[in-house]
Symmetry: C2
Subunit: 380 residues, 2 copies
């Protein structure tokens, strides 16, 4: 007897590894002769192969978007949005999710074996870009027989991949849902990423990225990096509401133990990340964020870049997001309008900050549900 999953869940899911045999020429100049991608799919591809939706993950995401893995009670990272009857409705769509190249959840990346050396890639793994991911995802689409996505959806760094898709493979994207993203990150964003990287790179247990062979992990550095990330994912107001200045003890302890609730939260988040994420992948992901700038090849004119696109766009921003603020989403919308593209924009009234793109905020889910219902009609 199978365990009881919620009725609106895709239930038990089984990720699978797909070997991409085509060589992939990367932005850095190197070529991967072949690579593997960890993939999950939900729902059924229709006969016309027209109902496929690709979900692109953010910095620390992976292929496990919805449902449950054998033996685990924790659903995928966007389970609240993907499932039968949910905004990304698996009764209507065939949903594809993957762990990006360079990730650490099974796809070819720093913690997998480099066939040329028989050892983990480690720091020799190339610094991949959002465009490299999109090209890799296009090879995946070929493999799955999907000529054109009904929609590509992603939040944060995932939203950047969505934009890149519309510019790189315009004919292969019907609808693009760009959520809590930015046309390129700011100097302040780069600064946060740089500190996270320095925390990892300067950890003596990083061993120049060859820590696997040493049987250690750069836990201190990775923990600091994640703690820092968490500050930028939450709004000042959300932190106030969530933790205030509550002391864990009645009086200050006058030492460096955990004193404030927010310290406890950060240390916990940092530590649990160390247990599940790879430091080399973290470096790669932050660099991909820094490099992302699709306007660069178009004379720094984002509208010129978007003139290549033929997709229709949904752009979603969250009022409390200070990492990728609504202002940054409006820059995307403006460029799309200037390029004459079809774009809908939704500003969601929210509290949490950047993390809100993962939350089941009713207004947000209504927007997604409504948009995708129209997509479903269009492809029917």
């Amino acid at each position: 007897m199978s365990p009881a999953y919620p009725a609106d869940s895709v239930g038990l899911v089984q990720p699978f590894k797909l070997l991409i045999r085509q060589p992939l020429a990367l932005d850095c100049g190197r070529t991967l002769p072949q690579h593997e991608l960890m993939v999950e799919t939900y729902g059924q591809l229709n006969a016309a192969r027209s109902n496929a939706i690709l979900i692109c993950h953010a910095l620390s995401g992976d292929h496990h978007v919805a449902g449950y893995h054998e033996g685990s009670k924790k659903p995928g990272w966007w389970d609240n949005c993907v499932g039968p009857g949910k905004p990304i409705d698996t009764d209507r769509f065939f949903v594809v999710a993957l762990n990006n190249l360079g990730g650490c959840r099974g796809s070819t990346g720093p913690n997998t074996i480099n066939p040329e050396t028989g050892k983990p890639w480690g720091p020799d793994f190339p610094l991949v870009t959002a465009r490299d991911w999109v090209r890799s995802q296009a090879l995946l689409a070929d493999e799955l027989g999907i000529a054109r996505w009904a929609a590509i959806i992603g939040g944060s760094l995932g939203g950047m991949q969505v934009m890149q898709w519309t510019i790189e493979f315009p004919e292969r994207v019907r609808h693009a849902c760009v959520i809590a993203a930015a046309p390129k990150i700011s100097a302040q964003n780069i600064a946060f990423n740089e500190i996270a990287r320095q925390a990892i790179l300067s950890d003596p247990e990083f061993h120049g990225g060859h820590f696997y062979e040493q049987g250690v992990v750069p836990a201190r550095g990775l923990k600091l990096a994640r703690m820092l990330g968490h500050i930028t994912y939450l709004s000042d107001e959300a932190m106030r509401a969530k933790f205030g200045r509550e002391l864990k003890t009645a009086e200050p302890s006058y030492n460096f133990d955990v004193e404030f609730e927010v310290e406890s939260y950060l240390r916990y988040q940092g530590q649990s990340f160390v247990d599940r994420f790879d430091a080399n992948t973290y470096l790669i992901m932050t660099k991909a964020l820094d490099y992302f700038d699709p306007a660069r090849e178009y004379g720094n004119d984002l509208a010129a870049a978007f003139r290549r696109a033929t997709a229709k766009f949904l752009v979603v921003a969250f009022s409390s997001d200070w990492r990728f603020s609504p202002q940054r989403s409006r820059e995307i919308v403006k460029a799309l309008v200037d390029a004459g593209r079809d774009v809908s924009y939704a500003l969601i009234d929210s509290q949490l900050g950047h993390d809100d793109f993962l939350m089941p905020i009713p207004q947000y889910h209504r927007v997604l549900r409504g948009y995708l219902a129209r997509v479903a009609q269009e492809i029917a």
Copy 2:
């Protein structure tokens, strides 16, 4: 022949060390039998001893506020504001500046010798609070024969000491200038401080704070802490204006060398801090920030705390400051108004962020100059 200093400079200055022989009972419960403070003064104390101004420093500040030390071309950290004819006019006022207890620039602190052990205090130095500093500064005032300050002035953590003075020793403060401060720091501020502390505490070369004996410094941790600080001192806009997303090379290098100008800036700021600051002091300073909350003993009612004060207040905030935003200054103003205190508030239109409190912004300097000119008339 003495070197030529600018005409509006206090010129060559000589810090001196002052032994405070009175015991100091600290908030943590420990008592320092005596302690030393590094001090600088500018201008002349008048016969009535009524023209003294105390300047309280912020997190990484010290006693060297104005003028030049022998052999150095770098003036004090607030030289643009303190000197003959400057807003804090040394022709009119006797200005006193010190390195706070627990500092690392000569005052008794972790990097000085604990007389009981003959070794550096290191991590055994008590975690001092803003109130401890104020009490230490009051002993300094006794030593200098200053019964009442014409004004006490400070920015950021310095502004917090100013507030504490008005509550702790109301009769000893005529005017309080609270600049770019907050009535208490937010959970987000605590979170930034916690990450800075964790960076230092987890550096293997920290050696539990006993790094002096090991002949090393926790450079990696202190560097990370300072880099993080710098992000919060600058506004997003200032970073954009200052660095944009400029690459140091024509093309991305696809490695972890410095690529963006902002990375170069942060690494430089971090490294230069390591060369001049003490890690244990940094820990103490951030804890003092976290603990500061004068309303705590007054049922979390800041107005109740300020009802003790008799000083007149000038509160100054900067529009681009997101670390201690104008909203936080308005909380101070509101509490002062509720307490029936005399308060002037100036919101300075600024670009840089929190760092603006150190900048010679004309509007800012006009406000300070005008306010202090009235103070000078009052005491004449």
